[in-house]
Symmetry: D2
Subunit: 165 residues, 4 copies
């Protein structure tokens, strides 16, 4: 996950709010990051959070005979949702007056390290990745991520450490 | 990395040798795994080993303004080269008479877990992933992987634990 | 975590049952592993599971001014409870008739790799480590571990991959 | 690894130099951290770097029949040397005029996450842990650590992410 550095270059004529800033970050991840579009990742906003969905396609598999998702797709989804949730949760915790500063800071967000645990073969029609923050610092955020298929089978766990700015 | 289960289904009229089996595994990774083709991974056989190369393309980036590789591409390359080298090194260590058994066993090879350390932004024109075995067991192999760009900049480290059969 | 190889050397005049074998493994971890005694780890059997407790002592801290647990103590506890739970859950899943074989196999159990995430400073009077199996294979088991203090503060997460035999 | 917060409280009548500050940090790790003394860790300054040594003692083993080091001792040593080298290398990179500020910052240094790969059973008479920095940031430093025995056998690898301040 390498967050777009133009987070900070987007102009906003109106006052920045938490809601606007979160929507904007999701827009950046969804519409402007080429690899996320290449994978056809779908960003699903749910209440106050976000999940990542991808539908099975042959080109995402690591195996021509079976329909198993390539481990790289799993890693890509976990890294992406972890970074996105790290940013969103940080925005939520930031006082309104400090959002412009945070926006500048987020411009250089990136993954420091990530662990992926592959629990079972990635079989299914739809895969959903979610994340939650487990360590929240001013500059470093750690997330736990999960990937499930449409039956609720738990495909993979992830742990990602992200640098915000 | 989920290794093709049809490793074991390929018929071979001729006697199995280490060299043939290694070539066959590289062929499977290169030509039959859809996601590897989707990423346009190039498999480079070098002496007794193999490396993975990918040329920069916009669709592999995580950022429209910069040319930085998406962390998911890095993870995909490291996972793939780690799994491939784990298999190749295991083949090399296996007595000729046991290669047919190993071929059956490899059919269910897969990644157990992987850590990726992102050292610097993935800038460059060409990226090369390499791997070496650091723990060799009869069923579990651990590899260290690296990603460099064409200037030799070290982009990322990886550590992968693979189950062979 | 390196499991005692004398698991298999303990003689048992009576028939082996799941309950006996689990009690015996806990006994081995608690009473015969020198470093566990050195740390004064307390093994608490709870219903069908086990937790690990340690009371704060100055010699377990990494800091003379504060009372913060040394990260190595956290890692030691997580590794130990992960390995123990990996074995216990494997015993539970094994048919009675195969327990003697499993006992032999467990003799060479050991940790393949472990990740520890330090969530907050290890302050407290008592620390409890727990584990659950997230991937169960015939030879490789992956556990998630947690460390909490007596107030329920979540001190650390762990993920361990263990080779059983 | 939780670095002593009194790094910044040590008074220094004389001007702070790189050499003095490094010596002082090694002193803190060696003489004031109770768990490091409990393990009887020996800090060996070598040229411009430092290594960690421990001699085999029964109480450091995980096994009464064999002489194998407990995985928690390995993790403790790797975490400690990684954190120490992260600090030392950061000191070296810091301009003289900024050392006092760095000293304040280091007061809250700690480990964010660590991975340990156990390569072979920890047999030997003496174990030496070393570390090198692989990612250097102003606040976050990533190290690779290694543990060898006196014969040069490679016992374990580690990767640690440290927050400096």
């Amino acid at each position: 996950m390498t967050v777009s550095e133009h987070v900070s270059h987007e102009s906003s004529e109106n006052a920045l709010t938490h809601k606007k800033m979160i929507s904007h970050v999701i827009h950046l991840f969804r519409d402007t990051m080429p690899f996320n579009r290449f994978l056809q990742l779908v960003f699903e906003e749910q209440n106050d959070s976000v999940a990542l969905r991808v539908n099975w396609r042959e080109e995402l598999t690591g195996n021509p005979m079976q329909k198993i998702l390539h481990g790289g797709v799993t890693a890509s989804m976990l890294d992406t949702i972890g970074g996105l949730v790290a940013i969103i949760e940080t925005i939520k915790q930031t006082p309104l007056s400090e959002l412009p500063t945070l926006r500048e800071q987020l411009a250089t967000t990136g993954t420091i390290d990530m662990r992926v645990d592959y629990l079972r073969p990635g079989r299914g029609e739809t895969f959903v990745a979610t994340a939650e923050v487990i360590r929240r610092g001013s500059r470093v955020v750690v997330c736990r991520m999960e990937l499930h298929n449409e039956k609720g089978d738990h495909i993979a766990f992830g742990t990602g450490t992200y640098m915000l700015g």
